[in-house]
Symmetry: C2
Subunit: 300 residues, 2 copies
């Protein structure tokens, strides 16, 4: 039974989005030296954008364990840097060749291709620097766990591997199993990391970690199904990015395989299931449960 109203949820999401924006702004360096251009591009690609859903998951999963918000927000900022790097590189001409991202020109259109490649590289690198810093957690073991889990979620077996599959999907037709695996790697692993990070910071016990992982798994899949639906049903104005690209590229998506009605029903089922995994946290997980509702209801 949900106790968070949509209004309350949106206010909480906006609060954390602002807090993570402020923290990224403070963390990301500026300089008046000749190389300023790469920092400008890093800031352009990472600031002023997005729902900040992954930072929200970090903050709310950390809050389950009473983690100091000032530590958790550093992890939230690092996650958003990695997410932003992936968007910058995915938008490159050699990849998805995106024009619009978060309602603005993509990084390589605003700067140039070389600068966008370097800005992505710089954001990825800086995220690890932020995590390994003693300010993130006093216990170096926790910091190492955060680094390890982020590297696994974003590397070849995670996001990078998922993006490779996505490129291959332009030439090969994947079945539902491979499409599910593609999406789990490309999107799901970083959503899972966002929830796992709270558990690492909070020294969660094994059943708690399992519950968070199961929640994140179902949430990530629901999120991606809705993304596919928005690519078909949404407008660039609503979503802030180019739409209709998957169909144009002839890519297998949840929608092309299942059809719109079954895809939406599947997303709703997964969102409900995601919430149920969190029942072991009693009322403390209501905000995370509200995320599941939001993910299915969103228009962007």
């Amino acid at each position: 039974m949900q106790t968070i109203s949509p209004t309350e949820f949106k206010a909480a999401l906006a609060d954390i989005a602002q807090a993570v924006e402020d923290r990224i702004n403070a963390l990301l360096p500026t300089t008046d030296l000749a190389e300023a251009r790469v920092f400008d591009a890093m800031r352009y690609g990472c600031l002023n954008g997005g729902k900040r859903l992954r930072p929200f998951l970090v903050m709310q999963s950390a809050a389950l364990f009473g983690v100091n918000a000032d530590c958790a927000i550093r992890v939230a900022a690092a996650v958003e840097m990695v997410h932003s790097y992936s968007l910058i590189h995915d938008d490159l001409p050699a990849m998805d060749d995106g024009e619009l991202r978060r309602g603005r020109p993509t990084c390589h259109r605003q700067f140039d291709e070389a600068t966008a490649i370097l800005a992505g590289d710089g954001l990825l690198t800086f995220a690890f620097e932020v995590l390994a810093d003693p300010a993130t957690h006093e216990d170096p073991n926790i910091r190492c766990q955060l680094v390890t889990a982020l590297a696994k979620a974003s590397g070849g077996h995670g996001m990078v591997g998922g993006q490779m599959l996505d490129l291959i999907a332009e030439h090969e037709t994947f079945d539902l199993g491979t499409t599910t695996r593609l999406q789990r790697m490309k999107t799901g692993e970083m959503i899972a990391y966002s929830c796992e990070a709270g558990g690492i910071l909070g020294k969660a016990n094994p059943p708690q970690r399992t519950a968070l992982r199961a929640y994140a798994h179902d949430l990530g899949l629901a999120f991606q199904i809705v993304d596919d639906l928005l690519d078909v049903e949404g407008t660039a104005e609503e979503t802030g990015k180019t739409v209709g690209r998957d169909a144009q590229a002839g890519k297998a998506t949840f929608v092309s395989i299942l059809g719109r009605d079954r895809a939406r029903a599947q997303a709703e089922m997964l969102a409900n299931q995601a919430s149920q995994h969190l029942d072991i946290f009693d009322g403390r997980a209501d905000m995370l449960k509200a995320v599941a509702d939001f993910v299915v209801a969103r228009r962007a």
Copy 2:
């Protein structure tokens, strides 16, 4: 006074090159899943190549403190992964558009541009995973220090910033001061990290760390001056990469600013100075001193 002959030095270099090759081969995953292509490109870009100078510096600086070679070689492998990622991205059409690297087609020519971008991303990410792993060192504080220092050396204030300056140098004419800073960031910081890593693993005291840093600083600059000389004097057959690109691009280099004779004299002076910084280690640093001679005498 040097006690290592060129023959001994080359044998030691080849031994460590083989050991790091074997370790990278064991660390870098292979898979028969659909995303195998990105792992193939990661392996292509990182295996079978180069002098492995940076891994040699890691191993020899670690040996100064009696560090377990099985730990040090993991750091050496991580350094080489980051170096290889930087070469893959630098060679991209949007950057230096290289055709040849280590005597073979560059990664994006062997695979394709999108795969090369992802392979670089994957190698950078995996390097941090390797460093944060308990197998690298039992003390998580040491592992965090390794992660932090690598992120600083390779990020916007280090290698990525240096590459940004290098791109700007195609349009702007830099003076000797900015050219020196460019090279320190682009090449020097990772050479410095290779030496610093040995000190971190070996819990070096402050004077030892200062000596290693001063050595690496002078060595890195000497290395880059010789690189510039080889770009003018060398052949693609010798160097295994396209030569004459700097002059063609009209870039300011040490050679274009100082002229060949003064550039070579400067490299030799820096190499001598580099060796002298290591006098505090007595005879234990002879192999690192030999690196300085090698760097100036090399033809590739």
